[in-house]
């Protein structure tokens, strides 16, 4: 009896090992009943966000593709998606963080070049040139931009009214105002990156474009001048000086989370905030009672205001996808389903696709301030007063270095010159390798 029990135990252990060791069941690319299946990756969302997404994306896709099983699969982060794709699997359509991430996937042949689909569906006529151009890597199209956004200066209307402060129109007025705000015991510019170090790229992207000048940034990124040149250096020196004076984050931004950053602004603990146009969504849902407004960063006296632009993300087709043609068709539908897209912007604060055909009248139902932000975006594009945000226009390694070391400059652990020299070295390497994104 004991021998029998021992053999059963050993057998069950062996079977459990075999179960673990067996190859993972390949992702079914066929839906139920032999239907084709398309899986689209997306970020984590709570139940209420899923319901909203189902209304504006899942249901329209079901109607448009009744014979296809289309599934949105949530991923904790890009790293989980990357590991799955690297293993030869993954969804058919990948939602990636932007051109710099897409470039890494493209380098590894993990995403398909979509030039033939672009010709078929005339995507070059669909998107703004600057957004479409940022999706190319080594001369080929690897993604389509899913949102466009920019950096603005938010201000808390209640705080301004209480202290009778005027919204600054020039850089000089802004600097004078920040001193006054600090004197009043309020944080001039709310900022925190404790739980997301990379948020510093909002700051340096804003300062280099708005105060170094987009021409200087473009020239440096294209290799015609240097990041160490005075225009860019002085703009970043100003950013460092503001941080040290306590204007940005009250000298404690490394100890403040992103959530706190918005909370401090909404509660009036901070008067202003440099943040992206995406912040309106969080302000609207989490702090509906916050009276805020936004302006483009005040320019130096006599100069035009600059709107640093970016694409917020991109959709690519997985090179492992067994249904790339269908995936391209689904992508085309998503970008041309204008009715649901406009509804999602108006009713759920979704960000707009950077489409040439975008009609501002169709989103008149959004909150007035959000509408004004989009008007600023459009006007800046029309007047070519655009700047360059790092997550769209800087080479990946340069951006990673700057994200990891800007705090060191704030805290005097690294000199600004060393920081700029090292950044330039990464830029030089990217220029030589031809991996700098295309700039408008």
């Amino acid at each position: 009896m004991r021998k029998f029990l021992a053999l059963c135990l050993a057998g069950s252990l062996a079977l459990s090992t075999a179960a673990c060791g067996s190859a993972q069941e390949p992702e079914k690319k066929e839906g139920g009943g032999g239907r084709e299946k398309i899986v689209i990756s997306c970020g984590l969302a709570d139940d209420s966000q899923v319901v909203v997404r189902q209304k504006y994306m899942d249901e329209p896709l079901k109607k448009a593709f009744p014979d296809v099983d289309i599934e949105f699969k949530m991923y904790n982060d890009r790293q989980s998606l990357q590991v799955e794709v690297a293993g030869g699997g993954g969804p058919d359509i990948l939602a990636l963080d932007g051109p710099t991430d897409v470039a890494e996937f493209a380098k590894s042949d993990r995403v398909l070049a979509m030039d033939s689909y672009a010709q078929q569906y005339k995507w070059d006529e669909l998107f703004y040139d600057w957004a479409y151009g940022s999706c190319f890597y080594n001369g080929k199209l690897y993604s389509l931009p899913t949102s466009f956004e920019g950096m603005v200066l938010y201000y808390n209307e209640d705080v301004f009214e209480e202290h009778k402060w005027q919204v600054p129109e020039t850089l000089e007025e802004l600097e004078a105002l920040m001193a006054e705000i600090k004197e009043a015991g309020i944080i001039p510019l709310s900022f925190g990156n404790a739980n997301y170090q990379g948020a510093v790229d909002w700051l340096y992207s804003t300062f280099t474009s708005c105060y170094g000048g987009p021409e200087a940034v473009k020239s440096a990124l294209e290799g015609n001048s240097k990041f160490t040149d005075p225009a860019i250096r002085d703009s970043l020196q100003m950013m460092v000086d503001w941080w040290k004076a306590g204007y940005i984050g009250d000298n404690s931004s490394q100890a403040v989370t992103q959530e706190d950053m918005i909370a401090f602004f909404a509660e009036g603990r901070a008067a202003m905030m440099i943040n992206g146009t995406w912040a309106t969504s969080q302000l609207g849902t989490v702090y509906p009672d916050c009276n805020w407004d936004s302006v483009i960063m005040p320019p130096p006296q006599g100069k035009d205001p600059i709107f640093p632009l970016a694409t917020g993300g991109g959709w690519s087709i997985n090179a492992n996808s067994p249904n790339p043609d269908l995936a391209a068709e689904v992508l085309n539908f998503l970008f041309t389903n204008y009715e649901d897209h406009y509804a999602s912007i108006v009713e759920a604060n979704y960000q707009p696709y950077p489409l040439k055909t975008f009609e501002m009248e169709k989103i008149k139902g959004v909150e007035e301030k959000v509408y004004e932000q989009y008007e600023m975006l459009m006007d800046a594009q029309t007047d070519n007063r655009i700047g360059y945000c790092s997550w769209t226009f800087y080479p990946s390694e340069m951006r990673v270095y700057m994200n990891e070391n800007t705090d060191s400059v704030f805290l005097d652990a690294l000199s600004l010159d060393e920081y700029l020299e090292k950044s330039q070295s990464y830029l030089d390497a990217a220029i030589e390798a031809g991996t700098v994104p295309i700039l408008p």
């Binding site: 252990l13 690297a86 997301y196 490394q254 100890a255 706190d260 401090f264 705090d407 805290l411 652990a413």
Partner: protein, 294 residues
Amino acid sequence: MKISKKKLIPYFFIVPAFLLHACIVTGPALSTLVMSLFEWNGMNQAVFIGLQNFKEIFTQDKIVRLSVIHNIQWLLIFITVPLFLGFTVAILVSQLRRSQMFFRTVYFVPYVISAAVAGKIWTAYMNPYYGLNQVFGKMGFEKLSQVLWLGDPKIALCSVAFVDNWHWWGFIMVLFLGALQQVDSNLYEAARVDGANRFQELIHISIPGIRQTIAFVLIMTIMWSFLTFDYVYIMTNGGPANSTEIMATYIYKNAFVKYRAGYANALCVIQSGICILLYFFQKYVSKKGGLEDD
């Protein structure tokens, strides 16, 4: 040669675990060693570059040196504070009769809280605008209320280590308590008969009686100090200004943020090498110090 059934049967029990170990531990470990010799972004075709990654680690990368120093600082904190605290409290709790279970539970509770949850809670506690600083301010400790626990590069690592200590020391206490309860009570009686006081009982009976547990806890603490990741990642992510960057977080960043998986593999090899060296060093010191484990 005929092998008897009796000799074969034990292998039936070992083989499954061995296969599991080979698939999950040995295989990936060997793969890490091999991939450390390649330039690889985690997705593309790896390119063999020999010892280039290691050359960069030892000659160019300042952050690696900083990370190792931070791990050593972490180690020094963890082989002293939680061990001393855990042992002292275990001695005290072992004297209790009725309320022993209550105190064991209370001190052990932090250990069962997930690092993600505890890290987030303590990050909020250490926020300079609310949490502990508010309490200190109201109690009149002005200087303390202005401390940037996670924002000051000089103390950020200690702040995170404090939280991990809070999480860890209860587990050490329970281990020591269990070991103390295994010590033969007759030895204590005999010592009292010979005129030994409490302190002498501690030095000559308790500590020698649990020396194997002490050795085990030491080696685990030393190795885990170099493998620690969760609290640093959750609370500071290596910042501010690399002041809390440790090997594990730096490996993660290289692998997944910088797309340098080959380089991250090389860092893993270095990390493992350090752990192995520390293991043998600790074994040698433990043997010399009489803390031999079986």
